[in-house]
Amino acid sequence: MTTIGVLALQGAVREHIRSVEECGVKAIEIKRMEQLDEIDGIILPGGESTTMRRLIDSYGFFTALQEFGKKGKPVFGTCAGLILMASEIDGQEHAHLGLMDMKVARNAFGRQVASFEAELSIKHVAEDFNAVFIRAPYILELGPEAEPLATYNDRIVAAQQGHYLCTAFHPELTEDNRVIQHFVDMVKNSTKTLAS
């Protein structure tokens, strides 16, 4: 059975587990790097990227997550997860996992009082998706292999590069599972491809 892990070092883990289960596949919390062998795809949830990075470093997750991606297994980052996946972060010397060829800006829409909900059109996924942005980042530049999936006020807020997917907003905070379903489909397809 297809199993999707949610990195459970900090952040909105429970919501992602619920969404994945509602899409009919198994979801497990990942707290130790050995568990990566048990899953077909992983979600890097929203939370605080600085906190997650420190915990990623403490328990050997850094190279393990990069290798997980290199094997062709799908990775989906939401909000802080998007920041972890970027190859460049505006105003910072070092990026984190560098899985996707993109430059991102943290807290790019402002502080919490500027956090918002808005309806988005997301390519391949939905015309009318209610997206929840919380101290959200956005994508400043996207490499040639990546495809922008959604914009808000001309800012890129969702993108896909092969088996990597990211959103600046939180699909797990609504009952609408279409974005998560898109990722679940990516994982199912990759399991078939990787097996053949």
Partner: protein, 294 residues
Amino acid sequence: MTNRGTERVKRGMAEMQKGGVIMDVVNAEQAKIAEAAGAVAVMALERVPSDIRAAGGVARMADPTITEEVMNAVSIPVMAKARIGHIVEARVLEAMGVDYIDESEVLTPADDVYHLNKSDFTVPFVCGCRNLGEAARRIGEGASMLRTKGEPGTGNIVEAVRHMRQVQSEIRKVTGMSRDEVMTYAKEIGAPFELLLQIREEGRLPVVNFAAGGIATPSDAALMMELGADGVFVGSGIFKSDNPEKFARSIVEATTHYKDYKLIAELSKDLGTAMKGIEMSTLSASDRMQDRSE
């Protein structure tokens, strides 16, 4: 159509803090130490609770200079405290762009009857609670996050444990009730009926509930997670210890891996002295911050 300050956006902000540690800081230097240690947010204060306790007198919102200094020093969210019922302190903090306001019993209450109507604000609020009645009333007023009151500035975990157990036990109780029993229970504990029905349906509070008030060691933080806390606030515990950097890092890791006891043993080694605590029976009624509101 863009909507700011919605219930989902305000509660969602607290959801993102889950499994994390929020640390009290009084200046930019401490804020940076907290951020580097992996704090998910900092609480900007003029004094930590144990110093507020020692100083006595009326405790108010911090000087905005300190709050701004902290906001400029870190990229993680910054919280700040307003006095209970002090509409203007809360509006001032909101205007400054603080990410979360703690309507806190650590400060001297400005209104001994009414809490803030937090639904009116764009900024989200966290409030303290000792039981399900208090928790439900605060949610009814618009709080987007809860925390146990514990007994702040004591370094003694016993009250936070009492409050977390009390809330969890009352949630379990309401979950097993019939609809007619819920109405009477709502009357008894002074909780909004509709909210209790929702809690009964879902088996949990509609907002996150952190532990606060007396957490002084990595084991204390892990204990609160074990008892069902969504995360922890550490006030005086970190910067009143011998080695704040190490203490802060250890508390963060113990909170994430709260069931990994071997790891907690490692994290607890050579930490130096934790803050000196206070035994509850030595506190007079007027020293008990948790009783300042209900």
